[in-house]
């Protein structure tokens, strides 16, 4: 066997895919040829490295299942599989969680290395369109007790509620939406192209002020900007205790609000996140329009009722996105 032949067979040899005769020939060649032997060892080491990189199973994001089932439900509706999606909706229980909590878990983990030891200021990291590769998919095990879905995958909630109020999907016979009286020409909630993303910012501040009145201080800063503020609780990470707050402010006011919050102490870190919901929004809108067309073409009461229910679900989702996209969530970590 010469080097040319050996190089063609080196990979299947590594995987034990050669016939006995070829295996023996390869072994003899590798014993005699340093270059091929080095090539083989390099491939073997590469194989081991790749294997070790792939051996751990990563938990799927907490919201993946719901996102899948929402998409599947819409697919079932479009493909004309009547009735099944209602069974799923009746049995689904999920609290609609503030969208900010996703930012808390993901962004905090991205900054975990910083929090654990390095108090230096870090550059603002702005994520355009997709989170950093350093953000792991796993929620922090010891984070505050909130399980948020990303905004685009939130199961439908009542559009009348503010986005930060947890809600349970009611165990009603019919899904939300007064379906029998839904106008045939109900228009979808529209979101402009430039607003099809959900913004959030995480701010970590080392405060030198009075911690006992910190929430009141946060509220007094938030109020002039029309921002809501709520306590999320306390969190200890790497031996450092933080008070967590969530503020929701209208787009356009966020920069000024964040700037004002900086007066609470020294800004240790800031991370901005932009979650692009364009694709999900477009798909939902197409589904909505398709169902509306079907509704206009049928006079069967049962079919009408079913379509109205499906349209109502989509309308709620579109409305929910519009509400979230119109606001910016700021999660504040104030170090005690």
């Amino acid at each position: 066997m010469n080097c040319r032949e050996a190089k063609q067979l080196i990979s299947p040899y590594l995987d034990g895919m050669l016939e006995s005769k070829e295996t023996l020939q390869m072994q003899l060649h590798l014993d005699a040829c340093k270059h091929c032997r080095d090539d083989y060892r390099a491939l073997a080491q590469l194989s081991r490295m790749l294997h070790s990189m792939g051996k751990d199973i990563q938990p799927a994001p907490a919201d993946l299942k719901n996102a899948v089932m929402l998409a599947v439900q819409q697919e079932a509706a479009v493909s004309g599989r009547p009735g099944l999606w209602r069974g799923w909706m009746q049995k689904t229980r999920k609290k609609a969680i503030p969208a900010a909590a996703a930012a808390v878990l993901l962004l905090f983990t991205a900054l975990n290395g910083f929090i654990s030891g390095n108090p230096a200021l870090v550059p603002i990291a702005v994520h355009e369109g997709e989170p950093s590769d350093s953000v792991p998919p796993n929620p922090i095990n010891d984070a505050v007790e909130i399980q948020p879905p990303p905004a685009e995958n939130v199961p439908p909630t009542s559009g009348k509620n503010p986005p930060d109020v947890p809600k349970e999907i009611a165990e009603n016979e019919d899904p939300p939406g007064n379906t029998s009286t839904l106008p045939a020409t109900s228009a979808p909630v529209l979101l402009s192209v430039e607003n099809r993303n959900i913004l959030s910012t995480m701010l970590i501040i080392r405060s030198s002020g009075d911690q006992s009145t910190i929430f009141e201080q946060v509220q007094s800063i938030a109020s002039p900007f029309g921002a809501s503020a709520e306590k999320l609780g306390q969190q200890v990470k790497a031996g450092v205790s933080y008070n967590l707050f969530k503020l929701v402010v209208e787009r356009g006011q966020d920069k000024a609000l964040i700037s004002s919050l900086s007066s609470l102490g020294t800004v240790v870190s800031r991370s901005d996140d932009k979650q692009d919901i364009s694709q999900a929004y477009t798909q939902a809108l197409e589904q909505f329009l398709s169902l509306s067309t079907q509704r206009g073409e049928t006079s069967d009461p049962a079919k009408l009722k079913q379509l109205d229910q499906q349209i109502a679900v989509l309308q709620q989702q579109l409305g929910d996105w519009k509400q979230k996209a119109g606001a910016v969530t700021v999660v504040l970590w104030i170090q005690n």
Binding site: Q8, S11, D15, A42, M53, G54, P61, A71, V72, E75
Partner: protein, 189 residues
């Protein structure tokens, strides 16, 4: 978690039961997501890809043969979706599938020897995972796919041939080229 056997869940899902399909999603989502992370190299795209995998599975579940492995079938969907997505994105291909390996004049050995360090020495010094991951991500999608399936997922050559709908000979050749392309990418970093 459901204690219903997987085949029963599949059978029920084939009749249109979303509840059963949801159980399947719960059972396989970690494995599918991990596979998608290996392919897409970032969690954001991986989540999108994983979602698409399950939606495709839902649409085509009636064609799934129950004697096959459901997880492998999902992986097949993932690889095909990802390769198609790469093609549509006109993902930059650093190494062409058609680029001949330089066997004829033993140029590969000469090239390695010409550098100050052999590929082996470079690998030994190389900082692990991240550099390999970045190099893997620069490969042609079909090279990356076979390496993910073989090295990370542990599929046999025969399974990979079935997953990619190609011959065993093609799999052997592609894995060989893919590994060498990856080594070359690592060396170039």
């Amino acid at each position: 978690m459901s204690v219903i056997p997987v085949n029963d869940l599949i059978r029920e899902a084939k009749t249109g039961s979303l509840e059963s399909f949801e159980e399947l999603v719960l059972l396989y989502q970690d494995r599918v997501f991990t596979h998608c992370v290996h392919l897409a190299n970032n969690n954001y795209d991986a989540q999108d890809l994983a979602q698409d995998v399950f939606v495709q599975a839902f649409k085509n579940i009636r064609s799934f043969r129950e004697e096959a492995d459901f997880g492998t079938w999902l992986h097949r969907i993932a690889v095909n979706l990802w390769i198609n997505w790469c093609r549509k994105q006109k993902k930059a291909v650093v190494v062409s599938l058609d680029e001949p390996l330089m066997f004829g004049d033993n140029e590969l050995s000469r090239e390695l020897a010409a550098s100050q360090d052999s590929a082996l020495e470079i690998l030994e010094r190389t900082e692990l995972n991240e550099q390999v991951r970045q190099a893997l991500n620069r490969l042609h999608p079909e090279y990356k796919a076979v390496l993910v399936l073989r090295e990370m997922e542990g599929y046999s050559y025969e399974d990979i041939a079935s997953l990619l709908n190609c011959s065993l000979g093609t799999v052997k050749s592609r894995i060989n080229r893919a590994r060498k392309a990856l080594l070359k990418e690592i060396k170039a970093e």
